[in-house]
């Protein structure tokens, strides 16, 4: 085994040459970036306002301005068609995978990956995700004082090759060098395992905003070995919100005051906040936005649990399946770890506790633990000498196969194989002088090609001409440590390497990425300034809107002088919105917010008096 020059990580660099490496949790609802500081502690990096959670929301303004984060999330109620709130759900997906009727977006026509119509032209989920990553990169560079040397980006363990490739492409567009794509539950295990020096068998139950993963890991002597993984990349906290929103919708309709379609996004946001509140309290009241004004509807924790029982049951079925595939029973597991914001729901905690017959581990913040683990891994991979040295062995989540005669799948590499994995298959030609071959690579567990995910068509060219059946073509399928698939081929009797052309089913081609990259580099600086202005404008518009609404609803709670001052401040902000002066807009917005504070306090008192039961989930107000 003298293939490799053996080098321990970090041994080539002097200890002073500390490299800037971060871990990025690119989540469905929010994203985070973290790094290992020089003292060996992991730190989450905050924006200038001190916030570490960046809502994974991207808004494209009418003039093409891009806003990311809180402002973009708040814009969704007013501009649902151009505000992307859960873009991760569409990564690596084709237009046919997106139910046009169920999304507020306009889908662009065409083959390949889904694209959404925006004032900037059609945009793919890769380009939209890249905007989120750019903001995180800039945040990290500001905090670390220079350009990044590399990043670990987390993905759901159950992401297929197309979804992983899309994530990598988004990072490239954002100017980030990806050290590794790391599975989210594995990242959480790193954060937990290293902090507690744990050994044994652990089940990581990760219910995020839009995805569910369950990984079973064995920890021993510094090796984190994934034994099995199961999941659903289209099941998450969002679905619990939708369930509750549908129920609220039905309640309002039953009360004879239906929620107009234009308020659907607002109702979802209210449902989400009600869900969060139900983790703290037994019952909440939601003011459903109906055509005739707010309609209060109360929901208890118990009825919310019943409403979403089937969603929870799906996650528990997948948990049992992963344990089964690891050859384990729930009793053999030393601990179940809860990850993901949606795992805070009491019914989820109770369900997991009952399955494993012990309370799950929750002592690390489920929203942050993935980013913390990713930062540790980035630090290790970049070669900084940290306090820990360990190895991760992860697995392929979905079997890899090729299409054979009659639309059937022949399995090449089974799921739960430890990565990296490689397998060679032999083929021959069936026509005299045949120069090329086509392979259709799919991922999934079903026997029919139609029931699996199409990954790519690989065209092998340059096979030397021979009589039919004489060529011996070895095709090597390879899955690397990122879970990405590649194919190489060689004609063995002549030693000719075939040229392999990849046509991804739902990905971007290399040429498309290169063009996008050139475009974004050319406009990097103006883009950053334009984004800051667009976000500032959006935030100001929302404060204005909220102020107008408050004035209309509760203007009578204000004294005469207060009323006038408020109206003037609103007019001033409105006028500044027409300019490009971001700092002036910010100042005017702050001035307005100071004036609306007393009104907000009085409204609160007023509403608490009228709330029926439990906590009152207030209408969205900036």
């Amino acid at each position: 085994m003298n293939l490799l020059q053996i080098a321990e990580p970090g041994s080539r660099e002097p200890p002073t040459a500390r490299r800037r490496a971060v871990g990025i949790d690119l989540g469905t609802t929010h994203s985070l970036v973290a790094t290992v500081a020089e003292d060996g502690q992991v730190r989450l990096l905050a924006d200038t306002a001190g916030e570490v959670l960046l809502p994974s929301a991207v808004h494209i303004g009418a003039e093409g301005g891009i806003a990311v984060g809180r402002a973009a999330a708040a814009a969704a109620a007013g501009a649902p068609a151009t505000s992307f709130l859960s873009i991760k759900r569409y990564m690596g997906r084709g237009a046919a995978d997106v139910p046009a009727a169920a999304v507020p977006y306009v889908l662009a026509a065409g083959e390949g990956p889904v694209r959404f119509v925006t004032p900037r032209g059609p945009l793919s989920p890769v380009e939209i995700s890249a905007e989120i990553l750019k903001v995180l990169r800039q945040r990290a560079q500001a905090a670390l004082g220079g350009p990044l040397d590399g990043a670990v980006i987390t993905v759901p363990a159950y992401f297929d090759d197309a979804q992983r490739q899309a994530t990598r492409d988004a990072a490239r567009l954002a100017g980030i060098e990806v050290l590794r794509l790391l599975n989210e539950p594995t990242a959480a295990a790193v954060a937990y395992g290293l902090d507690r020096g744990g050994e044994g068998l652990f089940a990581i139950y990760d219910l995020g905003g839009g995805t569910f993963d369950l990984s079973v890991l064995r920890l021993r002597r510094g090796v984190f070995e994934v034994l099995a993984t199961a999941g659903d990349t289209a099941l998450g906290g969002d679905d619990f919100d939708r369930c509750l929103a549908d129920w609220l919708h039905a309640q309002a309709a039953e009360a004879g005051a239906p929620v107009p379609p234009g308020e659907a996004v607002r109702l979802r946001a209210l449902a989400r906040r009600a869900k969060e509140a139900l983790s703290e309290t037994e019952a909440v009241t939601v003011d459903c936005p109906t055509a005739t004004g707010p309609l209060p509807v109360t929901i208890t924790r118990e009825s919310f649990g019943a409403l979403t029982g089937e969603l929870l049951a799906r996650t528990l079925r997948l948990t049992r399946q992963a344990l089964h595939e690891a050859g384990l029973t729930p009793a053999e597991v030393d601990g179940a770890v809860l990850v993901g914001g949606a795992s805070r729901m009491p019914q989820v905690r109770a369900g997991v506790a009952s399955l494993f017959d012990r309370p799950p581990l929750t002592d690390l913040d489920p929203d942050r633990v993935v980013a913390l683990g990713a930062a540790r891994q980035a630090d290790l991979l970049i070669g900084n000498r940290g306090p820990h040295d360990y190895l991760l062995l992860d697995v392929l989540p979905l079997s890899l196969g090729i299409e054979t005669m009659g639309g059937l799948v022949e399995r090449i590499i089974p799921r739960n194989s430890t990565l990296p994995a490689m397998r060679a298959q032999h083929f021959t030609t069936f026509a005299d002088g045949q120069r090329a071959m086509r392979l259709h690579v799919v991922q999934g567990e079903r026997d029919l090609v139609a029931d699996c995910r199409s990954l790519a068509h690989f065209e092998l060219r340059g096979i030397p001409p021979m009589v039919a059946g004489a060529a011996r073509i070895e095709v090597s399928f390879q899955v690397d440590a990122d879970g990405l698939v590649s194919v190489s081929a060689c004609e063995q009797t002549t030693g000719t390497r075939a040229e392999v052309q990849v046509k991804p089913a739902y990905g971007l081609t290399e040429a498309q990425i290169t063009t996008m990259l050139a475009d974004s580099l050319a406009h990097a600086e103006e883009d950053a300034a334009a984004r800051a202005l667009a976000e500032q404008r959006l935030a100001a518009e929302q404060v204005l809107q909220a102020s107008r609404a408050a004035l209309t609803a509760d203007g009578d709670l204000l004294a005469g002088g207060e009323h006038e001052a408020l109206t003037q401040a609103m007019a001033r902000l409105q006028a500044l919105l027409a300019t490009d002066d971001a700092p002036a807009i910010a100042a005017a917005q702050q001035a307005l917010e100071r004036l609306t504070e007393p009104l907000a306090a009085r409204r609160m008192d007023h509403h608490i008096g009228t709330a029926l039961a439990g906590r009152h989930v207030r209408d969205l107000e900036g």
């Binding site: 490799l4 020059q5 090796v223 089964h324 190895l391 390879q478 440590a481």
Partner: protein
């Protein structure tokens, strides 16, 4: 397609283990993890592309070899292959008694699955588990003591059937529990 082990290289040699069916599991694990620590692509993230590729190929091979040795049936197939014997040679006939027993198990599984009868499924799974243990003992004798490759090949084929059925019984049990 049969899951024939890759004879392109000797899996035992890779871990410096004797080519026997009886396996020192602890030694296999220790050697596997020690090599992973050195070779894994995570240890070569910033190396030249050629070295990264070599790391990928070396660990992929290591994983294949580990999987082959850790699973008893794949280990036996590999051991026979190293001796130049194909465990799945087409001329191998299944004795009538073995065939009859396999048919009985098959019918028992169908009867206990539709509708799911958990106690019967559990009993069947236990029986298949015992059959597997007995076949593994036969394999150890045939491979390590008697050097009876034909008997080993027969046991391997029966083991394939028993393991598949055992897995189906366990899956049916699991489906019953989850329902």
């Amino acid at each position: 397609m049969a899951m024939a082990a890759d004879v392109a290289f000797d899996c035992f040699a890779l871990f410096e283990l004797p080519a026997r069916f009886a396996l020192d599991c602890a030694a296999l694990e220790a050697s596997y993890l020690a090599q992973q620590r050195q070779l894994h692509p995570d240890r070569h993230v910033r190396a030249a592309p050629a070295q990264q590729h070599a790391a990928l190929a070396a660990t992929a091979r290591l994983n294949t070899a580990y999987r082959t040795l850790a699973e008893p049936r794949a280990r036996a197939v590999h051991l026979l292959a190293l001796r130049g014997v194909d465990a799945f040679a087409a001329d191998a006939a299944v004795p009538a008694a073995v065939l009859a027993r396999q048919l009985d198990w098959h019918e028992a599984l169908e009867a206990a699955s539709e509708p799911a009868d958990p106690p019967r499924l559990a009993a069947l799974a236990a029986e298949l588990h015992a059959a597997r243990e007995s076949l593994l003992a036969q394999l150890a004798g045939a491979l390590d003591e008697q050097a009876d490759d034909a008997a080993a090949a027969a046991a391997i084929r029966q083991l394939g059937f028993v393991q598949r059925l055992h897995e189906q019984a366990r899956a049916a049990l699991l489906a019953g529990q989850s329902a």
